[in-house]
């Protein structure tokens, strides 16, 4: 994973980049449309309404678009449901050949395809999530990479949950024991154990990203087994949230602020804020840096945010513990995947 210093440099470049954009815009004004609209295309495995990974990125794009001045300033195209890699590869190539400035491959499975498409379009920037590989080793210079450190928020939410729990039992349910979900779950468990070594963290996986019904049953099982604080990952957790709501449990969300779904149940969510990364990629591109940077969403660079539900009161001392955890993660004294002594 990249060190915090790298990220810091990138953050500064974001600021510089903004100036570059302004310059371009200024010089371009008299000339008939040289480069007035920045065109972004994103290819996603799930849908833009998945309440998770894809939606958070798409909404990030919309936010940046708004900031930049609407569709005139930035055009967004997307291909969703591209779980099939050759389809995604076709989409990537297509967008690039249509002259999109930034083409985002929002799925780790797209890497191979991307490494084959990118060299053919040196004037296009590509981005690959979630990964840290920009293919520079293969001599490819126009690919950005990004990923989220899901375990960081997991750790913090685990801390809060452990401290809030009355039963001392926490229920965690994930889809498949891998990737982002596993990092989040492991972080959550580590945070909980660190906050209260006696807490019992129960973990289950449903083996599917979309099995809403089984995810609900998993939550039901956790609650029957005594859990009062629940969390989970993937778009299928919506079912689990309903169970928590109906049975008086509390829920912690990730990837997306899930408060709206159950305002009396969701305590806090780890929210992915991709806007910083998106803006930086745009600005790098406009500054002539076509790729080569690997981003991670962290607390430190503001990509990860803990969004509390204002309707649910979290005791001040617990909030303080959470803040301490965030601080510890930011300054490197806490490893969010390890149980603190």
């Amino acid at each position: 994973a990249p060190t915090p210093e790298v990220i810091e440099k990138e953050v500064t470049r974001v600021v510089e980049g903004e100036k570059v954009v302004e310059e371009v815009v200024v010089t371009a004004t008299p000339a008939p449309e040289v480069k007035e609209t920045f065109r972004v295309a994103v290819v996603m495995p799930s849908s833009i309404t998945d309440m998770a990974f894809s939606q958070s990125f798409y909404e990030g794009l919309l936010k940046v678009q708004e900031e930049m001045g609407g569709p005139q300033a930035m055009e967004i195209a997307y291909s969703e449901g591209m779980f099939n890699v050759p389809d995604a590869a076709a989409a990537l190539r297509d967008y690039a050949s249509e002259g999109y400035d930034l083409v985002v491959a929002h799925g780790s499975q797209y890497g191979t395809s991307l490494s084959q498409v990118a060299p053919d379009f040196p004037d296009t920037s590509f981005a690959w999530g979630t990964s840290i590989d920009t293919f520079q080793a293969q001599g490819i210079e126009n690919v950005f990479a990004y990923q989220a450190e899901a375990q960081e928020g997991g750790y913090v939410l685990g801390t809060i949950a452990a401290l809030m729990s009355e039963s001392g039992v926490l229920g965690v349910s994930g889809p498949v024991e891998a990737g982002d979900a596993k990092l989040y779950v492991d972080g959550f468990a580590a945070g909980a154990k660190s906050a209260n070594p006696n807490v019992n963290v129960q973990i289950s996986y449903t083996g599917s990203f979309s099995d809403v019904s089984l995810m609900a049953t998993a939550a039901e099982t956790h609650m029957s087994a005594g859990a009062d604080m629940l969390t989970g990952s993937s778009q299928s957790v919506v079912g689990a949230i309903g169970i928590a709501k109906d049975n008086g449990g509390k829920w912690f969300g990730t990837q997306w602020d899930q408060t709206a779904l159950a305002p009396d149940t969701v305590v806090a969510s780890q929210v992915y804020d991709w806007t910083g990364i998106i803006k930086d990629m745009i600005e790098s591109h406009n500054a002539g840096v076509m790729g080569g940077k690997a981003y991670t969403l962290t607390f430190k660079n503001g990509g990860l945010v803990i969004a509390y539900n204002p309707a649910i009161e979290v005791p001040a001392e617990i909030k303080a513990a959470a803040d301490a955890a965030i601080q510890g993660i930011m300054d490197g004294t806490i490893d969010p995947l390890a149980v603190a002594e």
Partner: protein, 310 residues
């Protein structure tokens, strides 16, 4: 790590298993009618999704769960009608038309969901009803007799379906049409009408199966929320040897093992999660392999009827 064989765990499995089995029961009992008359409807999955969607949408917009249920049933009925036109009247290959219907239902429900709802929202669904007296029984009272109406409905459907199939003139016609439509035809039984009816019953129940998820058990709609349940339901009909009681057995076995494997995980019993998730599928095959009671399948299953051919 705790023991799996404690009363609370067993009661928990019972409770969750009953809930998990609910959508399978509606869909598989409905499919039993269709298959008993000789029509294989592989499109149950698509109908369930459409039922889940319309049930949720109408319940949410009208604030009336019964209207939602009605809408889901009506949607299922319509999609069943579609399947019947294609596979009974137009005599299309049933395996493929089912897959077509499944794709259509998946696509349309998602499209409509995006256009009308745009995101996941939840509603308050059918609430648990305690059955007087029985609900107060120690231990099992909570587990067996505090469910919502659609759960009770699913289990009530089993004897009702068995009764209809075995004790009514309609049921006799259904069984005859599925075994030997030519013979039924010569006795003045309208084969086409019987098949339309059963496929539409199957569709209606599949629609309700979807609604049982979206307005009674999970109380929200999400794209592809059935996640292959429709196909499992079809498999359960085979498991149950085309008898409602057999289907009940299959649905309960599958659901109980699913609930059990979650408990295995929750209790921290060291078994890889993926292997745990496999258990219901493995055990269902295993149970069928070792069971002895095998009613033969409806002889005319998947075979379109044409008068005069023998």
């Amino acid at each position: 790590m705790s023991n799996l064989f404690t009363l609370p765990v067993l009661l928990g499995i019972l409770y969750s298993g009953i809930r998990l089995a609910t959508p399978y029961l509606y869909a598989a009992i409905g499919e039993t009618f269709a298959q008993r008359s000789g029509v294989l409807n592989l499109g149950v999955e698509g109908i369930m999704l459409m039922g889940a969607y319309t049930g949720f949408l109408v319940a949410q917009k009208s604030g009336n769960l019964w209207l939602g249920l009605l809408a889901a049933a009506a949607t299922g009925l319509l999609m069943g009608l579609m399947m019947a036109v294609v596979s009974v009247t137009l005599q299309a290959e049933q395996g493929i038309s089912g897959i077509g219907l499944q794709l259509f239902g998946l696509g349309l429900s998602t499209l409509l969901y995006k256009k009308t709802l745009g995101g996941v929202e939840s509603i308050t669904g059918f609430q648990p009803i305690k059955i007087p007296l029985l609900g107060d029984l120690p231990y099992v009272g909570d587990v067996l007799f505090r469910h919502n109406l659609l759960v009770y409905g699913a289990f009530l459907l089993v004897p009702v379906a068995a009764f209809i199939l075995n004790k009514t003139t309609f049921g006799l016609k259904v069984r005859a049409v599925g075994q030997n439509p030519q013979a039924a035809d010569t006795l003045g039984v309208n084969v086409t009408r019987i098949r339309y009816t059963t496929v539409m019953i199957g569709g209606t129940l599949a629609g309700i199966a979807g609604a049982s998820l979206s307005i009674a058990l999970i109380n929200l709609f999400q794209e592809n929320m059935t996640n292959g349940m429709g196909f499992i339901a079809v498999a359960l009909v085979y498991f149950g040897s085309w008898r409602p009681l057999g289907v009940l057995g299959g649905a309960l076995l599958f659901s109980f093992v699913n609930a059990l494997q979650l408990w295995v995980q929750v209790l921290g019993i060291p078994l890889p999660s993926d292997i745990a998730v496999m258990m219901p599928y493995l055990l269902t095959i295993f149970a069928l392999a070792v069971s002895v009671n095998r009613t033969s399948k409806p002889a005319a299953l998947t075979k379109p009827f044409q008068r005069g051919e023998s």
